[in-house]
């Protein structure tokens, strides 16, 4: 006991005044940002967990209700629909956009004129406010005056009411999400492509490999780390889709319930229906899904990702 105290004191004494000053600087530099993160992010995460186990009354009083909110989650048909929609959304949008982005990236990796312009065009949707994207697509999708149905009419197809038909509204939004994501993924894949050393292709050419063989045996394996990164990032962001659905389907449409995703349901329950506790439970469920999917991907990357 005594020895321990003494050694502690010794340890403390060993810190020179100059080092102590270093520590002081470090803590002063970190304090403002860390306190902010603590108050607005870290603390709130724990508070969200606490809220999910309570019932939040209209005057701010909270009653501990244990697992009630979570039991409700499992019985709520809206949660089931939102969960299903989120899976459909991510399951379609992520692979399709990565597939298309890879094709575009490979095409733009050739020495063609005006690459910068093409790159800019593909990137426009990435930097454009999602609200504006939702607005213009809503107009394009318009059942009566929209450009899409007019164009379909020219080839004799009677276009549907894209955003007010409960069977297809979700898919109409998925198409836009894919369109909007191509540019971002393409830039990352393009960077991966540019890291491939040309010697691989030269060697393959000597062996008589055609363009397709080169693509599947050299290009794809060598960009698997990039494709892995893009997949992880896309899944995390797609699971949180909100703006496009908010703008294109809206909060009061007859198809809102059948087209909503988990984040949309979270917003609706917490901030439209003012059921903060239930909203907290939904957000925890979403967080756990993201965490599980990410851990799963990190674990199984060895099966298909090749690090050179």
């Amino acid at each position: 006991m005594f020895n321990k105290q003494r050694s502690n004191r010794k340890k403390f004494k060993k810190v020179s005044p100059m080092k102590k000053q270093d520590y002081l600087w470090a803590y002063c530099f970190i304090a403002p940002c860390f306190l902010g993160l603590f108050i607005f992010n870290i603390g709130p995460i724990f508070y969200t967990i606490y809220l999910a186990f309570t019932e939040y009354g209209s005057f701010g009083q909270k009653t501990w209700t244990g697992l009630d909110n979570f039991l409700r989650l499992f019985q709520d048909p809206n949660v089931l629909i939102a969960l299903k929609n989120t899976i459909i959304f991510t399951g379609i949008a992520v692979p399709v956009s990565i597939f298309l982005s890879t094709i575009v990236a490979v095409l733009l990796n050739q020495k063609i004129r005006g690459v910068t312009i093409y790159r800019t065009l593909y990137f426009l949707p990435v930097i454009t406010m999602p609200v504006a994207i939702g607005m213009v697509w809503r107009w394009l999708y318009n059942g009566d005056y929209g450009l899409i149905n007019y164009s379909l009419g020219l080839i004799g197809i009677d276009g549907p009411y894209w955003l007010v038909d409960s069977n297809i509204a979700l898919y109409s939004v998925i198409i836009v999400a894919i369109w909007a994501a191509i540019g971002y993924n393409m830039i990352i894949i393009l960077a991966g492509l540019q890291n491939i050393s040309p010697t691989y292709y030269e060697a393959a050419e000597i062996d008589g490999a055609g363009p397709l063989a080169k693509f599947f045996n050299i290009t794809i394996p060598l960009i698997t780390p990039t494709l892995f990164f893009v997949t992880v990032i896309s899944i995390i962001s797609t699971l949180q889709t909100f703006e496009l659905i908010y703008m294109m389907v809206g909060i009061n449409s007859p198809v809102t319930t059948s087209s909503q995703t988990l984040v949309f349901l979270f917003y609706r329950e917490a901030f439209i229906n003012h059921d903060l506790s239930y909203g907290a439970a939904i957000s925890i469920m979403l967080f756990l899904i993201i965490l599980l999917v990410t851990i799963f991907q990190l674990k199984y990357q060895k099966k298909w990702v090749h690090y050179g």
């Binding site: 270093d22 520590y23 600087w25 470090a26 803590y27 530099f29 970190i30 403002p32 940002c33 860390f34 902010g36 607005f40 992010n41 603390g43 709130p44 995460i45 508070y47 969200t48 910068t116 790159r119 800019t120 593909y122 990137f123 426009l124 930097i127 406010m129 999602p130 609200v131 504006a132 994207i133 607005m135 213009v136 697509w137 809503r138 107009w139 394009l140 318009n142 005056y145 450009l147 007019y150 369109w179 191509i182 540019g183 830039i187 990352i188 960077a191 990039t226 893009v230 949180q240 909100f242 703006e243 984040v263 979270f266 917003y267 901030f271 957000s283 925890i284 979403l286 967080f287 990410t294």
Partner: protein, 252 residues
């Protein structure tokens, strides 16, 4: 890729009648610039602009200062608790916005900040992503710089401000671009904390415009174009930094 944007521009220049006539015209028969005026008449559109600019500038400047200070300390000073504090910061990166939105909203209610610009700016001042990005960059700079400056009698703030910060410019620009883009386009948080029309940023303001003028497509398109052009201009001029910032994480 470009058709929606062209259609946005063309529609904004048509009259309401022409926009909804069948068959549609491609090029406006009459070039009608009125929608760009009407947007300002019907809605506090200038307020929307001003709020967006203040929100974006406030968050960006705040993040640059706070994140670079913290990142310097994490990268350049050995102090007790460094690893654990950094790990906590990193863990914030993995949590989606929804998981802390409700308590953040309750904090705003407590402070009586709903419908103020403070609600739009303050929670966005702190960024775990910014600390991480800048720390990676600070780590890549040679250690000899600090040592030489220390011998010359500089304290940590002087080393940070006069020696390392100027070298960090590319990373600072990348962080600014991300913060500007994210703030300018942010919708969920403004929807949660602000509802008074004069306190809305462009994103939420446009969304409400859709509710009120649901069928006046030329006005909706004009409003959208007015909201998106600043980001397009920034992108065209700073393309290199956008692409560097995006690809920075992917190579590791």
């Amino acid at each position: 890729m470009i058709i929606p944007f062209l259609w946005m521009i063309l529609t904004s220049l048509k009259t309401m009648g022409e926009a909804t006539q069948l068959p549609p015209t491609i090029i406006p028969a009459i070039w009608n610039w009125n929608s760009y005026v009407q947007v300002f008449d019907y809605m506090p559109f200038l307020h929307f602009y001003w709020n967006t600019i203040l929100m974006t500038a406030g968050r960006t400047i705040g993040q640059l200062i706070l994140c670079s200070l913290a990142a310097y300390a994490f990268a350049r000073i050995a102090f007790p608790g460094r690893n654990i504090l950094f790990l906590i910061t990193l863990s914030v990166l993995m949590v989606p916005l929804q998981a802390y939105a409700i308590p953040q909203f309750l904090i705003m209610v407590e402070l009586d900040w709903l419908n103020t610009l403070k609600a739009l700016i303050v929670p966005g001042l702190f960024s775990a992503f910014g600390v991480f990005l800048l720390r990676q960059f600070f780590m890549s700079l040679p250690k000899e710089l600090d040592e030489a400056a220390k011998i010359d009698g500089c304290n940590h703030f002087q080393i940070f401000f006069y020696i390392l910060l100027p070298l960090t410019k590319p990373a600072l620009i990348s962080l600014s671009i991300f913060t500007i883009l994210w703030s300018w386009n942010d919708l969920l948080w403004p929807l949660i904390v602000n509802s008074s029309p004069s306190k809305l940023p462009l994103s939420a303001g446009l969304a409400s415009l859709q509710g009120q003028y649901a069928t006046n497509f030329p006005i909706l398109m004009a409003g959208s174009l007015l909201a998106i052009w600043p980001m397009i201009v920034i992108f065209i001029f700073l393309q290199r930094y956008f692409i560097e910032g995006i690809t920075m994480g992917s190579s590791k």
